[in-house]
Amino acid sequence: MYWNARMECMPKDELRRHQFRELKTLVYRLYSFNNFYHDRMKEQGVHPDDIQSLEDIRKLPFMHKQDLRDNYPTKMFTSSREEVVRYHVSSGTTGKPTLVGYTAQDIDFWTDSLARALTSIGIGTDDVVQVSYGYGLFTGGLGLHYGAERVGATVLPASVGNTERQLELMIDLDVTAIACTPSYMIHMGEVAKKLGIDFQRDTKLRKAILGAEPWSEGMRQHIQDNLGIEAYDIYGTSELSGPMFTECEERNGIHIWSDVAIVEIIDPETEEPVPDGEIGELVITVLKKEAMPMIRYRIRDLTYALEDKCECGRTSTRIGRISGRTDDMLIIRGINVFPSQVEHTLMNIPEVGEQFMIILDRKGALDVMTVQVELSPDHFSDKMADMMAIKKKIDSDMKKYLNISVNVELMDPGSLPRFEGKAKRVVDKRVF
């Protein structure tokens, strides 16, 4: 079953011609209408006329997350406010968030991309899909919600939290598929076990679409063996629109629809393409995006490309499992956190020093982030209530800026490690 058989199964050479046409149109449009990208191309000494083949994409300048921050909130938008129908916001690296905007057509393409993906894993009108990604500023909840509705499935917008209730609804409403983070899936499995719920016996759940945080083949096996369901990897970032691409039923790489996006894999140091099939940094150009076009966006995820035709018959480029990042971004319970955000938050709290450590661990299946920070000696008090008030203040500031709950530990001044050269402030004890 295909959602859009023509585009999904188009012969490779035809797809490449299609990509070239789209790219050319996009570059002309940006050069003419987008000050940011016009200037960027001028600096790089490249004109739309220089794009003579698909390979010429390499002449175009990269875009980085920093560009989105520098142009916050809407300076990079190529659509007017009247045309923009939605915003999503993800956390920034230094306190400033990253804003993405969508026109009605952007939402439509995003939804369509997911409709293809969901169809490719066999989800359709017969399914009840529990969307257990966060609804709100995060793209996961609404993205999957729209995608699942488009393929005609019944959507249960469960969002995150209240696991017992989620399990109850899953049973009562005959949920067949769920979309959530892999760690939440494991957590659900553990809660179910405690309640005496057997997924195979008591639920109709057969498929899980898991992503928004790093996971491994080992975790997939664990989930499949323990819960008796099929687990599929999903990929996306808010800059691309949100979660957009998944594995098909073959589970051999994530299909990046070639008419939707161009995939490049580069060496992060030299910025040159890596040899076919080798691991490098994923660079994505979204071909159809109105409000906030993305050309050669450096996502900072490490992966490899698969160009052979998939057993499912689809011809798109596929990418392998994300194996790491080229920056220091951490993904905690599906939320992106940069150590610089922690630093920025602490800088504005006079009661603590500038040294800190981040310790990541798992409590059951869920990530726990601990921030150790040194008390400023002048603020040491003999009263425990004063000390707890300082801790509480840090707790609430962290929650405010990072969007996740953090376990704060006040440390003795001078007790945390000092670094000469590159600081290693993150200790990740999680096993993926």
Binding site: P377, F380, D382, M384, M387, M411, P413, G414
Partner: protein
């Protein structure tokens, strides 16, 4: 006003940390008259009543400890049943709020160390009520 100095030290909750503090105090030649530990989550506050407070303070600072010196009230209490109750009950009647307290025994009786919200006012009221807060010399 009769107040005495007490040292408070921040102590991370890990094995051996208290010994580092007490070792430093001992080497400074200060005798611990009384002490208490308040436990937080990953750290505690250890409060010491000492005979040579300044020496201990300097030694702790020099060894990199986080230490503060604060004023507390040292009240002699009767070393018999109801001794603590009589003080606690009077504090309640006088409206003196106790932030924390600990007690120790010396050769001629018991001493209650009190941290209160408003030290000056509390000492005035306690004195008017017939209590005799101790000074450093009386304490040792």
């Amino acid at each position: 006003m009769t107040l005495v100095k007490q040292l408070s030290v921040m102590v991370e909750n890990r094995v051996g940390r208290l010994a580092e503090v007490t070792g430093t105090i001992g080497e400074a030649g200060a005798n611990i008259l009384g002490f208490s530990i308040a436990e937080g989550e990953n750290f505690g506050i250890v409060r010491f009543m000492l005979d040579r407070t300044d020496d201990a303070y300097n030694a702790l600072k020099a060894n990199g400890h986080t230490v503060s010196c604060s004023d507390v009230i040292a009240l002699p209490i009767e070393d018999n049943p109801g001794g603590l109750h009589r003080v606690a009950a009077r504090c309640a009647q006088l409206g003196v709020n106790i932030v924390y307290a600990y007690a120790f025994r010396k050769s001629d009786g018991a001493v209650l160390v009190l941290k209160v919200d408003d030290s000056a006012r509390s000492v005035r009221m306690l004195k008017a009520d017939g209590f005799n807060p101790l000074d450093v010399e009386e304490l040792v």
